[in-house]
């Protein structure tokens, strides 16, 4: 942790001094998900990038929904997110030029050590979630429209448990737009949607000794890289449905002329090159490989 902090401080100081003296035109604005930043990957990836290409990256870490929104509004040059369907929609609607497949990691379903729902015994993630829902044990949902939340909603849909769709209507540019979320039906007593980041969700689930879903990186960090560590354990993992691919998408300069597309493409090409992919493959958190390169 101390080491990470030191790297962080060094990075900040570095960007201050370097930014003022040289190459201030090679600054790339990137919105990304909290999981890439919290996992510590960016702390090794970005210095390697700067060494190779001179590109400095200004990182804005948010939920995937907000990161994509930043891209749509032209606030950033590039986005680095994980929600496959929405990334494809982002490109299809002309907000992004092209999706670069970068890497993947996976999600895990977590629960208290004594596993009151018996989810560990289940063969796959669908039946594990079913066991949780039938036991009435608390389940904590991100509920923040993030990539993890998107995945969780997909998993409930695929598990065969009856789900309910909640839709509200708001006005955007004078037109009615519907925003909907999916959750298990009649789950008011046990399904808690807290609308916060992954770390906060883990702390919440730990406090309530409840089930939840997390990306593996954040879980490892809270389980092995933190004192006091959380007690929650993995109750379901390895299912194909739990794979979590990350993509990089440069924002389309045709929509937002002010974005730096050239730099964004240079970044995307570096991160999918042999060099960038090696940094990703070599990254270890508490001795465990977190991300698996997708571009090689």
């Amino acid at each position: 942790m101390k080491r990470l902090l030191a790297i962080g401080v060094a990075l900040m100081l570095g960007s201050f001094t370097a930014g003022n003296t040289l190459a201030s035109d090679k600054v790339l604005k990137m919105s990304t998900t909290t999981s890439t930043e919290a996992s510590g990957l960016l702390d090794v990836l970005l210095p390697a990038l700067e060494k190779d290409t001179g590109i400095q990256v200004k990182v804005i870490a948010k939920g995937t929904g907000a990161a994509i929104r930043d891209g749509m509004d032209g606030n950033v040059d590039v986005i680095f997110v994980h929600a496959r369907d929405r990334e494809d929609a982002f490109v299809a609607e002309g907000y992004g030029t092209k999706r670069y497949a970068v890497m993947h990691n996976d999600f895990v379903v977590l629960g208290p050590a004594n596993d009151p729902a018996g989810a560990k015994k289940q063969a796959d993630v669908s039946s594990a979630l079913k066991a949780v829902s039938e036991s009435g044990s608390l389940f904590i949902s991100r509920g923040d429209d993030s990539g993890t939340h998107t995945k969780e909603q997909d998993l409930w849909k695929q598990s065969g448990i009856p789900v309910e769709k909640k839709t509200i209507t708001v006005v955007k540019s004078g037109k009615d737009v519907e925003i909907s979320t999916i959750r298990p039906a009649n789950s008011d007593a046990w399904y808690v949607s807290i609308g916060q980041g992954m770390g906060k969700t883990l702390t919440f689930a730990e406090e309530k000794q409840a089930y939840t879903m997390s990306d593996r990186g954040t879980y490892i960090k809270y389980k092995f890289g933190k004192t006091p560590a959380i007690d929650l354990e993995i109750v379901s993992e390895g299912d194909e449905q739990l794979a979590n691919p990350y993509g990089v998408i440069p924002v389309n300069p045709a929509k937002h002329p002010e974005v730096n597309n050239k730099l964004a493409v240079e970044f995307a090409e570096w991160i999918t090159s042999a060099k960038g992919q090696k940094v990703i493959a070599d990254y270890r958190l508490e001795g465990q490989q977190l991300f698996f390169p997708d571009a090689m």
């Binding site: 509920g143 955007k172 540019s173």
Partner: protein, 234 residues
């Protein structure tokens, strides 16, 4: 400007539709703020009265400390209370964290200094002749206190209004101690913070407009309580 336009229309739409999620959020907000303000007033007004009414050695020091507490950041209060009531904390077994009670506890720490401080200034402003006349007319201590409080009611209720405004608008404590759990501890302000995080700005601003509408309605009620005073004629 579009954002504001869309937001106003969305707010009206949500209110007219009596959206169940919105109703939940508003109810939680009002409930928590009501109890915080109620308990805060029950503790703060008598304390403020005692400090203002009595002469004692460290009075100025006490008042300075109270005024300093007005600057206490909600995040600090949140952290402090969190460390006591989390599962590993001293009061962990009470399972208070992420409940409405936890928010009320945090908000009390926030507003009791506000109420004490404003009550002191309301009472200090009352002419000492009220006290002496009441005494010469044969009033006992309790009756004197009643006379003074009645004269100071405008200022005391203003203190309570300020406290209510502070708790209903506050986001740090509600987020840290309540946890923004939908239907349980999601308040208007934490819902706004969430919608901002999601990138749903329209919804965030719409919620803000709803909050202001409720604050207006509640202030009308307070205003009736304050009654007619000199302030009306100014």
């Amino acid at each position: 400007m579009d954002l504001l336009f869309d937001s106003v229309r969305s707010a009206i739409g949500l209110l007219l539709a009596f959206d169940s999620e919105l109703v939940d959020i508003v109810v939680v907000s009002l409930r928590v703020s009501f109890f915080s303000t109620l308990f805060g007033a029950l503790a703060g007004v008598p304390l403020g009265f005692l400090i203002a009414y009595n002469q004692f050695r460290w009075k100025r020091m006490v008042i300075t400390c109270l005024n300093t507490l007005l600057a206490l950041p909600t995040v600090v209060i949140g952290l402090l209370v969190y460390s006591f009531i989390s599962r590993r904390g001293v009061f962990g077994s009470l399972e208070l964290l992420y409940t409405q009670k936890a928010i009320v506890i945090g908000q009390l720490i926030l507003i009791i200094p506000v109420i004490i401080s404003l009550t002191i200034s309301a009472i200090s402003r009352i002419d000492n002749r009220y006290r002496t006349s009441a005494l010469t007319l044969g009033a006992n201590n309790l009756q004197v206190a009643w006379v003074i409080c009645r004269e100071a009611r405008f200022g005391i209720i203003a203190a309570i209004i300020a406290a209510f405004g502070r708790v209903i608008a506050e986001v740090g404590i509600s987020m840290m101690l309540g946890g923004n759990a939908k239907g349980f501890t999601r308040t208007m302000t934490t819902a706004m913070a969430l919608e901002y995080d999601k990138g749903e700005f329209v919804l965030a601003v719409a919620l803000g407009i709803v909050l202001m509408a409720f604050a207006f309605a509640i202030n009308i009620i307070f205003n009736l309580l304050q009654g007619r005073t000199n302030a009306d004629t100014v």
